[in-house]
Assembly symmetry: C2
DNA sequence: CGGAAACATTTTAGGCTTAAAGCAATTTCG
DNA sequence: CGAAATTGCTTTAAGCCTAAAATGTTTCCG
């Protein structure tokens, strides 16, 4: 049963002229819960990656992008996919080239562009990590039913679209 | 309609003796989508906090914790709540004390403990930021119906519980 | 053609973050 | 009591990350 104050707000919200400070406490709580879930899982994955393979989460993430692109990617592509800044990728790639996991070469047709690929070593190591990683994720989400997973996928797709639209509105 | 290979897997999964490498691609995709949503929203909020208030996301987060605790918190409490390392909090607090937003004092009863509070300035500035922040979040989640929000809350609560259980299993 | 705009990347300065080691204070328990 | 374990915090070393400025390259047009 809605409290009196809620009824008043509901009435106000239908009266366009009245500027009611609307209550968005629910969305705020949702955002905090989303952040908590991600932080929790990411921390767990990071810890396991470090313990088992002595690799960081960003390095694993970068290698995962490259594993899906056998012909390599440009740094810009990687930066967009990973949703991190360009400068960030520069350093990340530098260290992975240094350790022999990545191969970097300047594009033949455009000397601005750097194309990076996994080396044989990089691909082999990534595949090993990815296989184990998948079992960790399965375990972390173990209590969700297949239906829960589908429903979450759907709602997060909607969330992503909504957030992208809002971000677009701001940049416009 | 399930493909033939799926039927085989389903049969296998009910045959305890057979060690089928199970497929967890759905959970993997769910995790990536969760991460994408959080990264997207956090990036948007960080950008707005910087532009409007010249404040970082971690500082805002720390002040939010303290706003809920008028009597102050210990650094350990803050560290647990924010889900970051102890050392991280030390530096964060240092900078916010420096800028006059936080007050730090050693506990009377236990000289190991540091208690931090928002100063008058800190509280005033936080309240201003928080009000605007709430409208950003509302806008980012604008396309979700109240029912979507409730359902996401429920499913993320389940996700959080599942992940915590899994993390606990590992530490044991 | 040639200058302006756009593009891809790197550099810079500053801040965030972690894991691990270290230090001091407190608690536990033989 | 007093040694050992625990607790709360800081320090350290290394890496991650961003926004903004800088550099070199290519494209767009007038």
């Amino acid at each position: 049963m809605p409290a009196v104050s809620d009824c008043i707000n509901m009435l106000d919200s239908e009266t366009k002229a009245v500027e009611t400070p609307e209550d968005h406490a629910e969305e705020l709580r949702l955002w905090l819960r989303l952040l908590t879930c991600t932080t929790l899982i990411e921390g767990e994955v990071r810890g396991r990656l470090r313990q088992r393979f002595d690799v960081t989460f960003p390095r694993f993430d970068l290698m995962a992008q490259l594993d899906k692109a056998p012909d390599g990617m440009t740094l810009s592509d990687v930066s967009k996919r990973m949703m991190v800044s360009n400068g960030n990728v520069t350093g990340l790639v530098e260290r992975l080239v240094e350790s022999g996991h990545l191969d970097r070469r300047t594009s033949e047709t455009d000397r601005r562009v750097q194309v990076i690929r996994l080396t044989k070593l990089g691909r082999a190591e990534f595949r090993k990590m990815a296989a184990e990683h998948e079992t960790w994720i399965a375990d972390l989400f173990a209590d969700l039913t297949p239906k829960d997973v589908r429903e979450l996928m759907r709602l997060l797709a909607k969330t992503k679209a909504s957030a992208q639209k809002s971000a677009g509105r701001r940049r416009a």
